[in-house]
Each structure stands twice: as structure tokens, then as C-alpha cells.
Symmetry: C2
């Protein structure tokens, strides 16, 4: 087995998928609550208000991501099953049309008519594999794992909560929003870099550049939120 | 051209992609700012604070989504180019191994050794198509459109801002958070349903069920944020 296949299989290992979800949830969870708290730090004078807003955002964001991801996974599963049923029906009712579709896949790669027909005839001998081929190569659909979608949604949602509590923690033990922001910014930038690094590692991107990107997004979002909230607040 | 191909092409039309991005950005933008404002409505007594927090969230969320999406698109493009270069190198340096990989794709579908070899030899005649085949069917990679990623990120980010201003607008012209929440909830639930409907239409899902899901996620997130923020606030 060559290296590419190894990587491919590795990506489907349960433990690896779990770690990916944790890292994605946490790095996303760090960003928006951090920026929201930073934005409010320039506009309100109470750490309790900032923490309340941060907690409301974390709850809302984790549900939107978690429940949203779960329902999207279910929809994808239903879509796959509907298409699968349609392909099974079509190879029964319009087999010649379906064979023509197989041939078109190979026509695109410059294989001549003779080859196309041979492949289509050969594939047609096993209906299950024929449908499987159509699903993957004509429609570009892979069978979604519904348990995976549910677990993934829960893991990302929970990790978002954990990630979001990191920037807020700066406001727990300080007296003023500016003190809170200082601690929060230091903590969050360090964590964004670390999680950006791991996120890039597990998703197969260059880790240092990936870490820099994640950190940059967090800082840009926080700076913009701070400035806009301050401008808005001085107007009222 | 059959119906499936029509749908496939339609999905790649520029105007359709633009509408998809608008609808996705707006329906997402409605959810979290709505839930955040609802959460704060149970905990603070000033509409200005709620609007400030909402604006900070919208700015942070749109930058995280927009910039995040743009950088993710660029990373995907780089990854594709790196893999493309590797495949071109490999068909020069280890052509037999690469032919074996083509054969494995067809072995999976029950085609015999004889067929596999014929197809692999035929594909190998045109290097560009050979690499193209490897990219798509062995690695499952389609060439990402970098302009598309940038435009898509900007469209989603801006739509998120527009979507987010809808729930906040309830607090602009009312005196108390509870009045604001009432208007905000009515406006947002109507818009969530409408955008959920269009979102499902453009992403090819059953529209009424899709609309119900999007609305449900928004209501669940807002209810949870309201309760958690209220509990937290009564503790301090």
C-alpha cells in the first residue's frame, strides 16, 4: 500500500476524526467569543455584561453549529438514500441510458467508443457495483455515515463551548473590561496559534502557516469588533 | 442532456452560486445574532448594550466566516496545485505504480485484470487526462476556483451582516429589551422560515422541511441562550 492510500485510510479512523472535530470546534469557539468580548470591552463597563454576552454567544453558537451540523448530516444521508433508490430504479427501467452515462464518464478521458462500451457492459454485470459506480463517479456522492454526523456534531458543539470559555476566562478574575481584555487577548492568541497549528496538522495543511492564518483571523475579527462597537457606543 | 446533468451544470452557474451564498450567509447571520440578543434580553436592561453586543457579534462573525472562508479556499487551491504537481512527477518517475493505481480503481468495481490493464494503458496515452483522472478518481479532488472562493467569502460575509441586522432591528425602535425581543423574535422567525425555504431550494433539499429545520435551530439556540444568560445573571 502506498503513502497516499495510507493517508486516505488514516483520515477515516475514528480517533483521528474525533480529534479533528475537537480541534475544529475549539479553534472556531476561540474566535467569535473572543472577538465579541473584545468588542464589548471597548463599549461597556461591566465584566458581568461581557461574560453574560459571551456565554449567550457560546450557547447560541454551539447549538447552531452542533444541531445545524447534525441536521445537515441527516439531510445528506436522506439525499444519498433517495439518489441511491433512483439509480437502482433507473438501471432497471432505462439501462441503456445508464450505460450511456457510464460511457460519458470515460469519454471525458479520451477513451474511445469501443473501450467505453466494454467498460459499461462489464460494469453492468454486477448491479450493486454498477450503482456504486454511478453514485461515486457520475453523481460524486459518497455514502454518508449518519452516526459519524451525530457524533461529529456533538463533539464540535462541546468543543466550541470549551474553546469559547478560554477568552471569557480573562474576564472572570479581573475587575475591569480592559484588564479582562488584556488577559483574554494573551490567552486567546496563544491558544489560537496552538489550535491553528493542530487544526492544520490534522487537516493536512502546512502547520505554521495554518496557525498564522487562524491567529490572524481571530485578531482581525477582535480588532474590527472592538472598533465598530466603540464607534457605535460613542454615538449613543 | 438528461435532467441530472442539467442540475449539475446549473449548480455551477455564477448567478446560482451567488444566490446560494447570499441565502446561506443571511440564514446563518439571522441565527446567532438573534440568539445572542435574545439571551441578553433576559439578562440586561439596556437596548444599547444588546445592540452593541449584536453589532460586535455581526462584525466578528462576518470576518470569521468571510476571511476564514477565503483563506480556506486559498489553502484548498494550494493543496490541489501541490497534489497536481506530485501526480505529474509520479507519472514520469513511477509510471508503473501510477498505472497500478488506475487499475485498483477499476478492480474495486469487479473489472478483471485484462480490462484494468487495457484502461490503464489507454489512459496513459494522454498525460494530461491521465493526471486528471488520478486527481478526480484516486484522490477525489476537483480543481477549486480561487476567484469563486474569494467572491463566495465576500458574499457570505456581507450577507451575514445583512441577515444579522434583521434580529437587531427589533431593538432599534423599542424602549426595553423585552419589547425588542418580541419584535425581534417575530421578524426573525418569519425570515428564518423564508430563508430556510430558499436555502433548501438552492441546495436541493425539500424546502418546507428545510425551512422548519432552520427555524427550529434558530428558536432552540435563542431559547437556550436566553435561559442560560438569565440563570448566569441571577447568580451575580
Amino acid at each position: 500500500m502506498n503513502k497516499k492510500n495510507n493517508q486516505h485510510i488514516e483520515k477515516h479512523l475514528k480517533s483521528s476524526a474525533f480529534i479533528t472535530d475537537v480541534v475544529i470546534g475549539m479553534s472556531d469557539g476561540l474566535t467569535v467569543p473572543f472577538a465579541l468580548a473584545a468588542g464589548l470591552s471597548g463599549a461597556v463597563h461591566s465584566n458581568v455584561v461581557i461574560i453574560t454576552a459571551g456565554i449567550a454567544e457560546i450557547v447560541a453558537g454551539s447549538i447552531a453549529m452542533g444541531l445545524g451540523g447534525y441536521l445537515a448530516g441527516k439531510t445528506e444521508q436522506e439525499h444519498y438514500q433517495a439518489e441511491l433508490k433512483r439509480e437502482y430504479d433507473e438501471i432497471e427501467t432505462i439501462p441503456e441510458e445508464e450505460k450511456r452515462e457510464v460511457k460519458m464518464v470515460f469519454a471525458e478521458y479520451g477513451l474511445n467508443e469501443h473501450f467505453q462500451t466494454m467498460i459499461a457492459d462489464e460494469l453492468a454485470k454486477d448491479k450493486e457495483k454498477w450503482v456504486d459506480f454511478m453514485m461515486k463517479y457520475e453523481l460524486g456522492l459518497e455514502e454518508p455515515d449518519v452516526n459519524r454526523a451525530r457524533n461529529s456534531a456533538a463533539t464540535i458543539g462541546i468543543s466550541y463551548i470549551v474553546g469559547g470559555l478560554i477568552p471569557l476566562s480573562g474576564y472572570f478574575f479581573t475587575q475591569t473590561p480592559y484588564q479582562g481584555l488584556t488577559i483574554s487577548a494573551i490567552l486567546t492568541v496563544v491558544c489560537l496559534f496552538l489550535f491553528g497549528y493542530f487544526k492544520s496538522k490534522v487537516t493536512g495543511q502546512p502547520p505554521v502557516r495554518g496557525a498564522a492564518k487562524v491567529t490572524l483571523i481571530g485578531i482581525a475579527a477582535a480588532t474590527a469588533a472592538f472598533m465598530v462597537a466603540k464607534i457605535f457606543n460613542t454615538m449613543f
